[in-house]
């Protein structure tokens, strides 16, 4: 039987890694991820989890060790946040290029300066071109479910890419919610054992990994990652559907989730925990006869462009919420990626919640009211204290 525990988002990620029976964990603590790797250290120390726990001196080493561990054929997990993820940047490319299915939890947090430990999504969105699959959770249950699904996605032979599971710092990492923990056997039965055919350690069959790729080869390797990303779209949906059948929990089609999109002309696109607030507002306004739609992006890389276009076919005015900003363009990353595919709609970008600024129900209703009158292509900074 599954059991329900009231736990934080970081605990949910740690529990999921335990349920997936990871072989190696290499991690460095960073706020607000720390409690995840502490929990995993406890599991290993208690003997609850039979894994190698590598204590490293930085996130650059955490990712390097994770890549090496995964390259031997071990199921590998790590976790990070913000500055730590930025420090990993160089090695993130290596993980994707070497096609090692590392799974990483990232606690979304703002980047310095000024030093800020609170939530926005600038850290992971700045890593969008590294070749990592990026998934975003709305609540703690989804964190657990996503980490479990991430292993199955990453290890699929059609994919073989590292997966980053993102959850909003403090909003999810440090708040407790009831989370259903499935049985270990059920999870292992779902994910299966990782039997790598391309990268493993066997002294009888020596191989070189991470070799030089001169101009004769490099471009093809990049194209191969792009192909794997396209394959991942179907794999993510299939893994989600199989998960939904086995565990009775579903999240849209696995890549996007539509909420009240059929009737609504005014639609909000968002990612992460803020979708919970938006859903509440949608339910509230529905009682008054006002229809607001939500398109939640669950998978940001690969970006499911066709699914997004299809889901928004009835929409007229689209508010795209970004918890990040591409400086010098005055647009968030989601807007920059999505709006160009919605040429027949009015799209307005809302920069919200940077560095942990509260996003209230009133802000959501304000955005809903604004998107109808605001001009196409505009960027509005919500709650900005202008002088």
């Amino acid at each position: 039987m599954s059991e329900v525990k009231v736990i934080t988002g970081t605990s949910a990620a740690a529990e999921a890694a335990k349920l997936a029976d990871v072989d190696v964990i290499a991690a460095y603590p960073i706020t607000p991820q720390t409690t995840c790797v502490e929990k995993l250290a406890d599991f290993v120390a208690n003997g609850e989890l039979d894994a190698e726990y590598i204590k490293v001196e930085s996130e650059h080493s955490a990712m390097s060790a994770s890549i090496a561990a995964s390259a031997t054929g071990a199921r590998t997990f790590t976790a990070t946040s913000s500055q730590g993820l930025a420090l990993m940047h160089e090695v993130l490319f290596a993980a994707a290029g070497m096609r090692v299915p590392v799974v990483m939890m990232n606690a979304n947090r703002a980047l310095s300066a000024p030093i800020n430990i609170w939530n926005d999504q600038q850290d992971s969105l700045s890593q969008r071109d590294t070749g990592w699959i990026q998934l975003y959770a709305e609540d703690n249950q989804e964190v657990l479910d996503l980490v479990i699904q991430a292993f199955k996605i990453a290890e699929d032979e059609k994919v073989l890419l590292p997966v980053m599971v993102n959850l909003d710092g403090f909003i999810l990492t440090h708040t407790v919610e009831p989370v259903t923990l499935p049985k270990r056997e059920t999870v292992l039965d779902f994910i299966g054992t990782y039997e790598p055919k391309h990268a493993y350690l066997d002294p009888k069959k020596p191989m070189t990994q991470g070799a030089l790729g001169d101009p004769n080869y490099y471009m093809e390797t990049r194209y191969a990652i792009e192909t794997a990303m396209r394959n991942a779209e179907k794999v993510i949906a299939d893994v989600h559907d199989a998960f939904a059948e086995k565990f009775n929990r579903a999240y849209g089609n696995g890549l996007i989730e539509s909420y009240n999109l059929e009737k609504a002309e005014n639609v909000i696109i968002a990612m992460g925990s803020i979708c919970g607030t938006i859903k509440d507002m949608i339910d509230l306004k529905k009682k008054e006869g006002v229809e607001i739609g939500l398109l939640k992006i669950r998978c940001y890389r690969p970006l499911p462009v066709e699914m997004i276009k299809d889901a928004l076919k009835n929409a007229k005015n689209v508010a795209i919420l970004d918890k990040s900003i591409s400086l010098g363009m005055n647009k968030g990353a989601i807007y920059a990626d999505v709006a160009s595919h919605l040429k027949d709609k009015k799209t307005v970008n809302y920069i919200v919640g940077l560095g942990g600024r509260d996003i209230t129900s009133e802000d959501i209703l304000g955005i809903y009211a604004d998107v109808e009158t605001s001009e196409d292509g505009k960027t509005n900074w919500v709650g900005l204290k202008e002088e």
Partner: protein, 85 residues
Amino acid sequence: MVNTGTIIYEPGSSANNKTGSWRVFKPVLDQDKCVKCENCYIFCPEGCIQEKDGKFEIDYDYCKGCLICEKECPVKAIKTEREEK
């Protein structure tokens, strides 16, 4: 064409890739001046100077023309020539 993860499954591939084509200058050993002190053999960073039948030979398939051997030769038995392609 390229293995997933650009993994090389056959060991010893570096022996097949001739790297001497990078060379601009070429060290040439004058066997008459050579006193067989082994300095060039010891200092060659690519290991492409080998003793063969009592004589030292430079393997031009792998020599990149760094000319450390020329610098280290105590009797100036190695001279520099421009590589001609």
